[in-house]
């Protein structure tokens, strides 16, 4: 397994763990205030961002040590950029679709603001996981 796949796996793992952690802290979301829900969600988003940045740093270091190339060149080429583009398209599609769905549910079907907020953030997490799975499929 190459370093790219390890990095993608770590990204998916970190996001999935954060989803579980966030969900455990939001077990009684219907009775929670919007302030406390926002705090938990912000912490979750922060954890994912920090985890993804740390993973990319470690993967870059590991990759450089493994290949012996410390110039930083050759880490990414046109194939990586193309796969990254596909993944971004997928994640944008998922997030956009979820956003519109949540707004429709809130506007016409009386979905609570608490549930809507959680659904939007979870669609973001799902988009990250889905784009990771797509990248793993492309790099297989």
């Amino acid at each position: 397994m190459n370093t790219k796949l390890i990095g993608i796996l770590a990204e998916i793992g970190a996001t999935s763990l954060t989803m579980i952690w966030t969900w455990r802290n939001l077990s009684g979301f219907s009775t929670m205030t919007i302030k406390s829900i926002s705090k938990v969600l912000t912490q979750g988003i922060g954890i994912v961002i920090v985890a993804v940045v740390l993973v990319s740093i470690f993967v870059s270091i590991f990759s450089a040590v493994q290949s012996g190339d410390h110039s930083g060149a050759g880490l990414e080429d046109e194939r990586d950029r193309m796969y990254e583009l596909y993944a971004t398209q997928l994640s944008s599609g998922i997030f956009g679709l979820a956003m519109v769905t949540v707004l429709i549910l809130m506007g016409w079907f009386n979905l609570s603001v608490n549930a809507g907020l959680i659904a939007i953030v979870y669609s973001g997490f799902t988009a990250v996981v889905a784009s990771g799975i797509l990248k793993m499929y492309l790099y297989r």
């Binding site: 190459n2 790219k4 050759g74 880490l75 990414e76 080429d77 046109e78 194939r79 990586d80 790099y139």
Partner: protein, 74 residues
Amino acid sequence: MAKKKIKIENSVRKLRFNNNEMTQQELSDLVGVTRQTVVAIEKYKYTPSLELAFKIALAFDKEIQEVFYIKEYS
């Protein structure tokens, strides 16, 4: 007009061996991509851009159609 599907294959692997058994790393350094990309091209899992295809052909001193060709056309 119906959309036509094409399958592009290549003879990169054969050409490497005919060129003093050039390694994948050597080819990747010559054309400026990672070794994994060369592996993916050889396994027909990735079709390179026109620019990269020309660079690969130039690396073997061949015409592009001698390196990349259409296998199936429907």
